[in-house]
Amino acid sequence: MEMQLTLSPAADALTVTLAGELDSLSAPKLYDQLSQTLKQHSTVKKITFDCQNLSYISSAGAGILLLSLDNFGHRGVDFELRHVRPEVYNILDLLGLTKVMSVSNG
């Protein structure tokens, strides 16, 4: 299933709804759209990823989250992944992402 991506910026927060599969094909699209949105909304201080319908993540997908954290975290932007499915949480945990950003499952 191809990834679907919705970005909803508010005053100082951005909600990113991810659905489908985040892999080497879809990960660059996520990074491009995040970069563009953060350029237009420079007051954003927190990005919340709603992962309820994210069914799969590969190392390329996890890598893009890390790269985003590294690039945008310098601007003081916090990252949070919510409603992460057990399959996806397991991979993020194996890669150590659960130690560098807030990730909640269920």
């Binding site: 892999d23 080497s24 799969y56 590969s58 190392s59 890390l66 790269l67 057990p86 991979i91 194996l94």
Partner: protein, 137 residues
């Protein structure tokens, strides 16, 4: 022994097909979805490395993936025309961000090595063979 095979060309567009092939054929052998997903990820990472790095996403290059269930073991074979790389010898754990490029690196190989019990890499004839083994008990 159950055996499933998929022939594919070296283009990243085939990665979703590879994932769904693994999910479909392991469904009856590995009922736990978290574990089944781990094997799906291991296969995708293996194939992605061969497609993108080994074969430079050249669709003229043909690869073959085989899944075999032998007793309580899952065997994954990838037959790849590109020269082999030392998948089983890469350093662990990965740097989340590589110092030279400041980009994530080595995450896929790290996952394969975390998720599988045994990795054998050899060259036979004109193919590199990556053989991954996992006990299912």
């Amino acid at each position: 022994m159950a055996k499933y095979a998929l022939d594919f060309s070296a283009t990243p567009d085939n990665l979703p097909i590879i994932r769904h092939f693994v999910q479909e054929h392991l469904a009856s052998h590995v009922p736990d979805p978290v574990r089944r997903n781990q094997f799906t990820v291991a296969v995708e990472e293996l194939c992605a490395n061969s497609i993108i790095h080994g074969n430079h996403s050249d669709p003229a290059q043909k690869l073959r993936l085989e899944l075999r269930i032998q007793g309580q073991q899952l065997h994954i074979y990838l037959y790849d025309p590109a020269p082999p790389y030392a998948l089983h010898k890469y350093p662990m754990p990965p740097q989340l961000l590589r110092k030279d490029t400041n980009r994530p690196g080595g995450l896929g190989i790290y996952l394969i090595r975390q998720l599988m019990d045994k990795i054998i890499v050899r060259r036979r004839g004109e193919k590199s063979i990556y053989h991954l083994v996992k006990n299912l008990t």
